[in-house]
Structure formats: structure tokens, C-alpha cells
Amino acid sequence: MTFTRRIPVMAAIVFGGMFISSQAAAEASRSAVLASTCFACHGTDGKSPGSIPSIAGYPAEIMEMQLRTFRDGTRASTVMDRHARGYTDEEIRMISAYLSKLN
């Protein structure tokens, strides 16, 4: 994984004018795919159009704590405990970091 991720970055330095393409490639990342699964209920880019809370732009450490406490059951929820149990610590970190950059 490290290898494939570094290639576009190096290429962007070499072929500076084509930076947009490598940015696009970076967006189909594991983090983007993981976080995009949240958007079905929480809205595209975490901005909810309805009664389910928005999740865009939370500081990463707060989102991480919320997901961890959903997962271990110390924070009450309807369905988020059932979802949070599907993710590892590393995945929760990736999702939280991604969501924190959305605003």
C-alpha cells in the first residue's frame, strides 16, 4: 500500500503541472472509501439534510472518542453501536481524520 500511495506524490513533484490528476487518484483512497460509507445516513461529506446528525468537521480526537464509546457501549445510541463495532482502532482513526477535514 505504501508503495502505491507514494508513486503519485513523487510523480506530482516530477510532473508538477499534472498535480490535479494525482490529487484525484489520492481521493479514491481507503480513507475516502471508509468515510464515504457514513454519508448514506449522515449526508454527502457528512452534512445531513435531515434528522440524522451531521458529522463534518469534528476535531478528529472527538470523533474518535465518540466512535470508540459507541463501540464499547459506554455512549448510548440507536444504531451507531452496531456500526462502530465493525471498525478497528486504525480504521476509526482514518475515518475521524477524514471527517475532520470536511467543513
Partner: protein, 433 residues
């Protein structure tokens, strides 16, 4: 329509620069492939196809995306039970393609795809036009098996016994029939065996009908004749029915006469166990067995199950190169055939295609599903799951997912009912908005 294919572009720019680009590609394919106006075509504008189109644009800005969908307005099957129960209008479940066109620059062709040529990588439309692609996503939804029972046909569905399992005119027909039904009447739902679109759907439908009857026709009955022995969220549904509707809803499993084998549309009667049991209904909602949408079957994307086998890591078709199948039509391991599954698969296939075009390895799949069902306007339940790819198929993550707690408070059920509406708003805007 101009067919601006990659091959033509190479001819236009001349052999010299094409060679230069190709040699540079050998060190970093991701930088260069974008310049050719890479064409991805999507057949089907339901939640799978619409989401794939939108996320192809989000994950890869330089991709030329064309969506082929004959309907200018798409009514979601999810939410259509709420229309039957009088909780929503048809306009509340109507989706259009304006945002995909205007906000994301997706070309939408209002036509029906009639053929796929995998030698020349083109899709043929009913108009006779062809559209070329580098990658093709097929998201055709379901088609009905008209041979599900003796006496059943498309004509029966359009007149006497609507399936209402694709939203639109069928939903309106069934709603009109329920409105016309006398107090004290019997509404029969014939539920299919697995697999089929929206596993909790028939039972949410029974709930919505009971909600309507309780208010306006309280002596009426809902009878579910089931071609299986168990169903999604069964414990929650049955407990909720008793609490909300007493004995109004009756469920008959296949082993106790629920396996309908024959229908008589004139007599509004259905038969099981070789004619041993007969059930007469005032309104009959026969939900037939299903298979992948027509285009998938005509083009050899299906296997003998009637559904489309795919590489479950990328949703690439097992039969056709450069073709991907998502949504209800695909065989997606442990995932149910649901609008939510189609949405999450649309994102994954978008990422898989962007990465394939860039020469990158596929990303590890992460897929989810949440099915909300309303038993009453203030009573909702869910089943949820998180999925991963391992050992060649999509599997639910152990210890995650599951159904709403059996012992939850009414406050909890009301919260899930509110979230059901929030889910509808979010998933439709995430797919079409």
C-alpha cells in the same frame, strides 16, 4: 452525438505525443491517463447507478461520466410503503437527475440501453445510437419472474394483483386498491422466497397497511402468505404488530400453507399446497420472485441463478471485462439487495474504477447496510451490518451489526422512526443530490 474515444484522441494528437505519454505512463500511470477524457458509462439511474456516477466525479475529477436512464423521474422503492400507508405522497419519493447534470457535469441520456458490445466497448440504445466506454457500470435493478405462479403474468400485475415492487404506477395502483377496499376486507401480501429486493419490505408493507386500516377500516385483515419459513427482523416485526395492531396481521410460513403456487385473478384467489388451501382477498399484492434487470440477462452478465456474478472486491463482472455490476442485480456475498447496499456499492465501484484507470491496486472494500422499517409513523426498527471482503466474498464483520434491541423503549422506537426519515433524506441526496 460526438464519440470522443480514447483511440480517436490518440489519432488527433499524433503518434509522437502518444508515444511520449505511454512511455511516461510506465513510471507513473496515474498521472497520465486522465488527459484522454476517460469515459465511464453507467446503465441505470437507481441508487446504485446514480451514486456510482456522482462518486466517479468526486473520486476522479477528470472522468467523463454518462448515465443512461429512461425515466426522467425515478421513484424509489424504499419509502414506497410509506406512500401505501398514507404517510407520504408519490412526490416525496420522486428523484430526478438535475443535480447530477448541473453540479457534477454528468451527461444523462434519457433512453434505454438495449445491448452491450464488449469487443468495441459500446452500449447500444433503443434509439439506435451507441455510446462508447472504457469502463461500464451496469446497475439495472430487478425484473420480475412472471412464471412465479401459475396464472400470474405481467398483465395480472398491471390490473388485478400489483407487485408494487418497483415504485411508480404499481405503487399508485396498489394504493388506489387499498383505498377502495371495504372495511372488513382482507389484504393479502404474497411474499417471495430468498433472495429478493428489500428483505424487510413485505413486512413493512403489512405494517403500513395495518396502520392505514386501523384508522379508516379497523375490521380489516392483513394476511401475509410467505414462500419461506423466516424473514428479516421477524421477532421485532411480530412483537411490534401485536403491540400496535393486535391480531390484524397474520403471517403464514411456507410450511403452513404460505407457499402460493397458483393465482386466479378473476376470482381474486390464490392457492397453495396443490390447491389444498385457497385464500380469497379483496386486495392481493403478489410479489413475485425476481432476477437481474433485463439488460443484464440479455447480455450474458447473469448466471443460472438469474443474478450477476462479480469479483466481490471490485464488482467487476465475472463474465465481461471492463464491465461492473452493482446493486440488486449483483451477487454480493452476505449483502442484502437494498437501496443502501446499492449506494455503498456505487461508491466502492467508483473507487475501484478510478483506481483501475489510474493503474492502482483496488482499495480494501468497506461496505455497510442499514435497513430502516416503519411499523407506524412513530415506531421504527433497523437491521445494520458492516461488510468486508475476505476469502473471495463479502462477509459481515463478526460482532458488528444486527437488529434493534428487542427490549427497547418506545422512545427508542420513535427515535428510529425519526431517523428512518432522516435516512431517506440523506441517502437520496447522497445518491441523486
Amino acid at each position: 452525438m460526438t464519440q470522443f474515444t480514447r483511440r480517436k484522441f490518440i489519432q488527433l494528437v499524433g503518434a509522437g505525443s502518444a508515444t511520449a505519454a505511454l512511455s511516461a505512463c510506465s513510471t507513473s500511470p496515474s498521472v497520465h491517463t486522465g488527459r484522454y477524457g476517460r469515459k465511464v458509462v453507467i446503465i441505470g439511474g437507481g441508487p446504485g447507478g446514480a451514486t456510482a456516477a456522482k462518486y466517479l466525479k468526486r473520486f476522479g475529477h477528470d472522468i467523463d461520466v454518462t448515465l443512461i436512464e429512461p425515466k426522467a423521474t425515478y421513484h424509489t422503492c424504499f419509502g414506497s410503503n410509506w406512500v401505501l400507508g398514507g404517510l407520504a405522497q408519490m412526490s416525496d419519493i420522486a428523484q430526478t437527475y438535475g443535480a447530477l447534470q448541473d453540479r457534477y457535469g454528468i451527461r444523462v441520456i434519457a433512453d434505454t440501453a438495449t445491448g452491450i458490445d464488449t469487443t468495441n466497448n459500446t452500449v447500444t440504445l433503443a434509439s439506435g445510437e451507441t455510446v462508447s466506454f472504457e469502463k461500464l457500470v451496469v446497475s439495472p435493478g430487478i425484473s420480475m419472474r412472471w412464471d412465479s405462479a401459475e396464472g400470474y403474468s405481467a398483465e395480472v400485475a398491471e390490473t388485478r394483483m400489483p407487485h408494487a415492487w418497483q415504485a411508480g404506477p404499481q405503487t399508485k395502483l396498489l394504493r388506489r386498491q387499498l383505498e377502495a377496499m371495504p372495511n372488513g376486507g382482507t389484504f393479502i401480501i404474497v411474499a417471495p422466497g430468498n433472495p429478493f429486493r428489500c428483505p424487510p419490505g413485505p413486512y413493512e408493507r403489512a405494517s403500513m397497511a395495518a396502520h392505514y386500516f386501523k384508522r379508516f377500516k379497523p375490521r380489516s385483515k392483513v394476511l401475509i402468505l410467505d414462500n419461506k419459513e423466516a424473514f428479516s427482523k421477524q421477532g421485532l416485526f411480530m412483537a411490534g404488530w401485536k403491540e400496535l395492531y393486535g391480531d390484524m396481521i397474520e403471517w403464514v410460513p411456507s410450511s403452513e400453507g404460505g407457499q402460493v403456487e397458483r393465482v386466479d385473478a378473476q376470482k381474486m384467489t390464490v392457492y397453495s399446497d396443490g390447491g389444498f388451501n385457497e385464500f380469497k382477498g379483496d386486495v392481493i399484492n403478489f410479489i413475485p420472485r425476481q432476477q437481474a434487470g433485463a439488460i443484464a440477462r440479455y447480455t450474458g452478465l447473469t448466471n443460472d441463478t438469474g443474478w450477476c456474478p462479480v469479483n466481490q472486491q471490485t464488482f467487476a463482472s465475472s463474465t465481461h471485462e471492463h464491465v461492473y455490476v452493482i446493486g440488486d442485480a449483483s451477487i454480493a456475498g452476505a449483502m442484502p439487495k437494498s437501496g443502501h447496499s446499492a449506494n455503498t456499492q456505487g461508491k466502492l465501484v467508483a473507487a475501484a474504477i478510478v483506481r483501475a484507470l489510474d493503474g492502482d491496486d483496488p482499495v480494501a472494500p468497506s461496505l455497510t447496510n442499514t435497513c430502516y422499517s416503519l411499523l407506524a409513523p412513530d415506531y421504527g426498527i433497523t437491521v445494520a451490518a458492516v461488510y468486508r471482503f475476505s476469502d473471495g466474498s463479502i462477509k459481515g464483520v463478526q460482532g458488528a451489526g444486527g437488529v434493534s434491541p428487542a427490549d427497547a423503549s418506545r422512545e427508542f422506537r420513535t427515535q428510529e422512526a425519526n431517523y428512518a426519515r432522516g435516512w431517506y433524506a440523506a441517502i437520496t441526496s447522497d445518491s441523486w443530490g
